[in-house]
Amino acid sequence: MGGVSFPLLSDFHPKGKVAESFGLYLADAGITDRATVLIDAGGTIRHISSVGPGGKRDMNELLAMAKKLDAEYEGETKDVAKPEGLPAGSVLFVKSNCIFSRWAQAARANLHLDDLALKNVSEDADAKAELENLGGSHQAPALLVDGEVHYESGAIVQALGERCGIA
């Protein structure tokens, strides 16, 4: 899904509590129903349905409903997904054809960090030299934030998550 990102929430402890509050927990099977709920910005449920645990959602139908809500909604809306972001001068260094670099870039996209500068050390010799100069190694992915360089994708994803804070 190009350009679409979303938080992945765990309804695990206590198990299925949120699903239950929507009447979507299948207690006998110990799982949630494969349900979809569209809630408008005012907090009202506009659509709620289930295709059953093994069913298939109709994406076109859902997209049409979302567009209809966008067009018809008269209340106030604003962007809250975009975090304050990272300090100016932060850079994410990546390299081409690298799964770890792709993970770091996925975290950047999922956290809506569009303002975080992205430099590819495989294509940009200056960026490679800059990274080596700053962190002592040109190993990518690497995250420069507050003058500190984080190497390893796990550490980068964690640092990005922490920077985007507790909502």
């Binding site: 009447g23 299948l26 809630i39 506009r46 709620i48 093994g54 959602r57």
Partner: protein, 44 residues
């Protein structure tokens, strides 16, 4: 299941970055699509 037109119950859950995400955070800001996704990664 709850009926269309009723107010969605608020909740707060952790996401993949250990952030706490609540429905009320999106109130008067954005529409929300909740996609419940059972069965993957389970033995069922």
């Amino acid at each position: 299941m709850l009926k269309e037109g009723t107010t969605a119950p608020d909740f707060e859950l952790g996401d993949q970055f250990q952030r706490k995400i609540s429905l009320s955070k999106y109130r008067d800001a954005q529409h929300v699509l909740l996609v419940f996704y059972p069965l993957d990664f389970t033995p069922t």
